[in-house]
């Protein structure tokens, strides 16, 4: 790394009234705002297609609400584990941090496992039984785009959290980096809360 780049890592830019507490945090928030627009456009598009369609199935008759309620529970509790991990690293309790971030990652991985099961079941059994095909039904295509886009975010989050866990243990990351990773993870949880309501329950 060049000396200039190293100096930039050490020195935070000068304060102004708009200067946030942390530039990394502001950067993550800006990314999340953009990402929220991606999800926003998909959800609004979903709403319009559903409104314009006259043979939209009742989601709870096609999809498994109980499994996805459990998946919601997994993401919510892994969000709680994430804040507990952050709290532990802020007081430098490495053992507690490792335990809770490990649990967070496990929660995310279990969510993905449930989603893989759900997709396999829908594509292999449920949708063919109902005569709904992936390629010709708006219900199916909007469902797979929305949950798939979110599932990719969970996959990214699991990889992100795992690399943060490794970097903290090698002494390269501190509490502020964990907080930024936490923002991403809670955002993924927040979006799922909306998808669960709009796609599964409504």
């Amino acid at each position: 790394m060049s000396e200039v780049a190293a100096a930039h890592l050490e020195v935070e830019p000068q304060e102004s009234p708009l200067t946030p507490e942390s530039w990394g945090k502001l950067g993550m928030w800006l990314f999340l705002a953009g990402d929220a627009m991606s999800f926003g456009c998909l959800i609004v598009g979903y709403g319009i297609l559903r409104h314009a369609s006259n043979n939209w199935p009742v989601p709870k008759d096609v999809l498994g609400i109980n499994l996805t309620a459990f998946m919601t529970f997994l993401l919510i509790i892994s969000s709680v584990w994430m804040v507990l991990a952050l709290e532990a690293i802020q007081v430098n309790n490495k053992a507690r941090f490792n335990k809770f971030l490990g649990l967070t990652i496990l929660g995310g991985a279990m969510f993905l496992g449930c989603q893989a099961y759900e997709w396999t079941h829908l594509l292999g059994h449920r949708l063919p039984e109902l005569g709904i095909s992936f390629s010709s039904s708006l219900f199916a295509s909007t469902f797979f785009i929305l949950t798939g886009f979110h599932g990719m975010h969970v996959t990214g989050g699991v990889i992100y959290n795992t690399s943060v866990l490794a970097a903290v243990n090698r002494g390269r990351y501190q509490a502020k980096h964990v907080e930024i990773a936490g923002l991403y993870w809670h955002f993924v949880d927040l979006v799922w809360i909306l998808i669960f309501t709009f796609v599964y329950l409504l």
Binding site: P20, W29, K60, L84, F198
Partner: protein, 92 residues
């Protein structure tokens, strides 16, 4: 960052609220309520839960205004998006 503003106990409390709201959401789907009432209830519960996550887990409640402004932008733009699409949604 002080430990008085958000503590483990507070996080666990938020977790239970989120859990109870989710259970209520799933339960009312099976009640067979009128469609509009059900939609209104579900959307309010979802927004309530999303706000709890943003305020407490993402610490928005304890941050400078700058981040809150950033967080609000996508919601304003989404409302704008829906308004712009109104002629397509209700063509008459």
């Amino acid at each position: 960052m002080s430990s008085t503003t958000h503590s483990s106990a507070q996080y666990i409390k938020i977790f239970y609220i989120l859990l109870v709201l989710t259970i209520i959401e799933v339960a009312i789907v099976y009640l067979g309520l009128p469609k509009m009432l059900l939609a209104a209830l579900l959307v309010s519960f979802a927004v309530w839960k999303a706000a709890l996550v943003a305020m407490h887990f993402m610490h928005l409640k304890f941050e400078k205004r700058t981040l809150a402004v950033v967080a609000l932008v996508p919601f304003v733009l989404c409302v704008f998006l829906i308004l712009m699409l109104m002629p397509d949604i209700f063509p008459h």
